[in-house]
Structure formats: C-alpha cells, structure tokens
Amino acid sequence: MSAVSQRRRGLRRWGVGEQRGGPWTYAVLVLTTIVAIFPLYWTLVAASRTNSEIVQSPPPFTPGGNLFTNIGEALDQVDMFKALLNSLIVSGSIALGTVLFCTLAGFAFAKLRFRGSTVLLIIILATMMVPAQLGVVPLFILIADLGWVNQLQAVIFPTLVSAFGVVFMRQYLLKALPTEIIEAAVVDGASSFRIFRSIVLPAARPAMAVLGMLTFLMAWNDFFWPIIALSSQNPTVQVALNSLGQGYVPDRSIILAGTLVGTVPVLIVFALLGKQIVGGIMEGAVKG
C-alpha cells in the first residue's frame, strides 16, 4: 500500500509530463483512439444491419435495427450462452486459483528464507521465456490419458499457475510489506500461516486484485490451447468464435452478431475497470 502511494506522490512531484500537449499531440492521440475503437464500433454497425446493407457502397456507418434478429440467428448456429458460461467458469477458476497460489508462493519468495529458493526462483523466471506451444503435444497426451479432452478442467488446470503471477506478487510484497512487521509478529509468537492470513493477505490485496483482473482477461482471451483441448460441443467463447469464423455461416452480419455477443461482456468489464487495469499493467511494467 505505502509503496504504491509513495510512487504516486513521487510522480506528481515530477509532474506526469514535462510539457503540455499541443494541438498536434491531441490530433495524433484522437486519431489513434479512432483507429483503436473503430473496428469494435463497426462490428456493432455490421451486426445490426442485414448482409445486403453491409455490402453497399458507400458502406453504412451507423447502427441499424437488425441487431436482435441477427443475434438470434447467431445463437442458432453456435451455443454462445453455453460458451459464455463456460468461459466464465474457466476464467473465474483460473483467476481465483492463480491469485491464491501466486500470493502464497510470492510471499514465500519475498519474505521467507529457505533452502533452494534462489534456484527455484530462477527456474520460474526461465520458464517465463518458454513459449506455451512448446509443451502442447505432451500436454495433449497427458490430457488424453486423464480423459479430459473436451472437458473444462483440461483448460483450467494447465493455465492455473502463471510464472508471471509469482514474480508479480513477489515484487509487490518485497516493497509493500515491511519485514519489521513480520519480525514483530514472529516475536509475538505468530505462526507463519497466521502471519500470512493476518498480515500478508491484507497488504497484498491491491496487487491481488490487479493480478486477478489481468489473469481473467488473459484466460478469457486464450485461444491456442482451448482450440486444441476443447471442441464446439463444449466450447469457451474463443472456441465458439473459432467455429463461427471458420465460415460455416455465410452471412457476415450474423457472424459479427455472434462475435459481438462473445466480446461485449469482457469489453464492458474492461470499460468499467479500465483505469485499474491500465494501472496494473503500468505497475507491472516498472517492476518487470
């Protein structure tokens, strides 16, 4: 807590920027914002029109009145509600599990001394560099042996721990949690679990929230492994979008309506929590 607020105050003293932005700065930033948002806006436009309206020249740039018809037809093609529910279960469990396990491990690496801690930490750091695709074949064999193909636990368990999360929590706790407090608690005879519950967890809460949001977002958008482990019978949103995009539906406005249903929930959450997520990414960047 204190480390964060100190940094904020520090930034304010230096001033966030050296100079005021001129008109050109605003012009470029507004243009960038339009480029960033336009494809999302156009999805809404196209999803709310008929196929013949989209292919006109000039194309329409305002939403039409066909949105719910298109969504209805898209839902006939892919079970987007099941996909949304599955994605919610998968991303929620991954976010919860990751936050819990990474906070525990991060605390141990930040504040406890034990044999082999350096080596273990280096292993974690090294595997952050290793691409997920490298392990995909044995992982699939493992999942097949466990009989998990096409089941949600196949995408939950392998994604449940993130090396990034451990490093993130460790860095945060190193700064945010004064060792003196822990020493005092030890002198008072608190067990290490008591210390974790009563001191570490409250102190780590802001970082846990940020890690939870980032993990949820990454799990929601994960594509490669769910495509391999699941199928359209039991899809996450991304798997459902994949079958939608593979072109069995010829009507563009219906495809885009389905895309919209699968994308809007996370974008709404993002718009609400965007400030915190931006803060989390920037915090993580400074430490990373």
């Binding site: 960038t32 999302l40 504040k111 042996d145 400074v286």
Partner: protein, 338 residues
C-alpha cells in the same frame, strides 16, 4: 540481508520465549514446532504452485523432446514407435517447413517493428500533460482486451476483397481492389495489421510507465542545453527506457514466433493451411496441421522443439545487441534518485 535478520529474529524469539517465565510458558515441543513451522512452511506455500507447474508446465516442456524422437498418432497417443531423429530430418527436407519459418520471420518483422516504433511515439505523446489522459490510455488498451478470435473475424471482413471497408477506403484514392487474402505480401501485411492493432496500445503503456520513472531533472538539463523535444526523445527518453525496450522486443519476438490465432482465422475455413499456397502459414499453424489434421504428433513435437531453438536464438541475438549498448544505460541509471 533482511531475510537473515528475520531468521535471527525467529531463533531469538524461540529461545527468549522458552526461557522467559511468562503467564503461558512454552514447552520444548512447542519451540520445536515453531522451528518446524519456519523451516517447512515456505515449502508448503510454494508447493501448490510447483506441483501444478511441474505437472502441466515443466513436464510437458521436457517431454516434448522425447516425443519428438517418436512416431505418435493422434488416434492412439500411447502407441509410440522410436524413430530417432527421423522427424527432424523430414522437417529440414520439407519445403513447407522452410516456408513456415520464412513466413513467421517476415510476419514477425512487419508486425513487431512498426508496432514498437508507433508505441514509442505514442508513449512520448502520452507523457505530456494531457486532458483526458485516462480516456486515451483506456481506449488504446481496448484492442488488447479484444480477443484474437474476435479481432481476426472483424479484420478478415474489413480486409475483404469485394466488400471490405479497407478496399472501399483505398478506392476513394483510386486504388483498385486488393485481394488481401490470396497475395503473399498482402495477406502477411493484413495479418500483421491485426497483430499491430491489438498490441500497440499495450506496448505504449509499458513504455509510458518506464518514461515516468525517468527523473525530471534530466529533461530540465536537456532543456537548458537547448534540446528540442525530438532530441530529448533521442538522447534522454530512449536511453532511459532501454531495458524496457529490450524487454518488449524479447516479449514481442516470443509472441511473433508463436503466431497462431490471427493466421488461422484470417483464412476462414481450412485456415490451418495458411492460405491456398501456404502463403501465410506460420510455424504455429504448421504444428497444428501436423498434429491435429495429419495426426502426426511426433512431427508436431519436432516442430515445437525447433520453434524453441529459434526463439532461444532470437533472444540471444537481442540480448547481445542490448549488451553492446549497456554503457549508455548505466549512465542514465546512476543519475536516478534512490
């Protein structure tokens, strides 16, 4: 240092409590329990992470190498035949493999380089005093929050040959309709556009965070010396955020080597082939085709292992390039207030 102090405190506390005649004197086993707690509990805390990590992270990584020396069919994953280096020798004599290597490289370059340069420029602009800075930051991150699948479906339509919005827009300037999907360069540019769209804002924010850590007096000194904004960017900002630049280059390289979702969905049905002539098949798609369409998991594992070597090579090159310029960074760092 701190940790040692803490350990000392633990020991001291143990012995103090044991000797002190308090209202609740502690027995010897209780002291031993405290000692056991401080010795064993760290392992207890990291064990959930490491058990999952070992089972679903480390084990598959190491086992890939072993699988790649076998012939394994997707239909019966437990039936393996030893083939030695056969999968690898097939791979290096396979034109489709070299095509995928080259495609991964070119798409990687035309997506990563512009992306990071634009991000650097945007971060420089965001580093000013701005009205609505939160709005700009959040909206720039919207593409990052959009999934690969959704972004690619939308962009594939925007890049459509006959009715795509991008061809319509270019048509306003007299450009003929471009067949984005079927040309080699046009398809790779289109795919790189999707990657750039999704990641530029994210990288800009990471650069911005690093820029905010550069002390202001460096800029003041530069201003006194009469440096323009452009010169400040070149001589103060960029040297100051160099470790972050190296970090983003490495992360983007790893991401580019694994490129999968964008080319897969860009082609619509049968996208795993990476277009009719494999014109945008990346290594990730090749791996997917070998394993899950040709049912040859052994070969897919060999491809995965080759990807890993390519990544290690790319990271090593990046690290070497970064080490050459380290002295510049050291000067910037020493001036940083503690």
């Amino acid at each position: 240092m701190r940790l040692k102090a803490q350990m000392a405190a633990t020991d001291q506390a143990g012995s103090l409590v044991a000797e002190a005649p308090g209202p609740r004197p502690r027995s010897a086993w209780r002291t031993r329990l405290t000692k056991l707690d401080s010795k064993a509990s760290p392992y207890l805390y990291i064990s959930p992470f490491f058990l999952l990590f070992a089972g679903f992270g480390l084990f598959p990584l190491a086992y890939t190498a072993w699988i790649s020396l076998h012939s394994v069919s997707l239909q019966n994953v437990d039936d393996r035949t030893w083939v030695g280096l056969d999968n690898y020798s097939r791979l290096i004599h396979d034109d489709q493999f070299w095509n995928a290597v080259l495609n991964t490289l070119t798409i990687g370059l035309i997506s990563t380089v512009p992306q990071l340069l634009i991000a650097l420029g945007l971060a420089h602009l965001l580093h000013c005093k701005l009205r609505g800075s939160t709005f700009f930051r959040v909206s720039m991150l919207m593409p990052y929050a959009t999934s690969v699948a959704a972004a690619t479906i939308v962009f594939a339509m925007l890049f459509g040959r006959d009715f795509g919005l991008i061809n319509w827009f270019l048509g306003l300037f007299g450009v003929d309709n471009i067949d984005w999907e079927n040309g080699k360069w046009s398809s790779q540019i289109a795919i790189s556009t999707i990657v750039t769209w999704r990641w530029t804002g994210y990288n800009a924010l990471i650069y911005l965070a690093a820029m905010q850590a550069i002390p202001k007096d460096l800029y003041e000194a530069a201003e006194v010396d009469g440096a323009s904004r452009w010169q400040q960017l070149r001589h103060v900002t960029i040297p100051g955020i160099k470790p972050t630049i190296v970090f983003t280059v490495i992360i983007s390289t790893i991401g580019a080597t694994q490129l999968f979702g964008e080319p897969l969905l860009f082609g619509g049905a049968g996208g795993y082939r990476g277009g009719a002539d494999h014109q945008y098949q990346t290594l990730g798609l090749l791996l997917y085709e070998q394993g899950w369409f040709n049912f040859q998991l052994g070969r897919a594992a060999a491809t995965a292992w080759t990807m890993f070597l390519i990544i290690m090579l790319a990271v090593a090159v990046n690290a070497l390039l970064a080490a050459r310029g380290r002295s510049v960074f050291a000067v910037g760092r020493r001036r940083r207030p503690v």
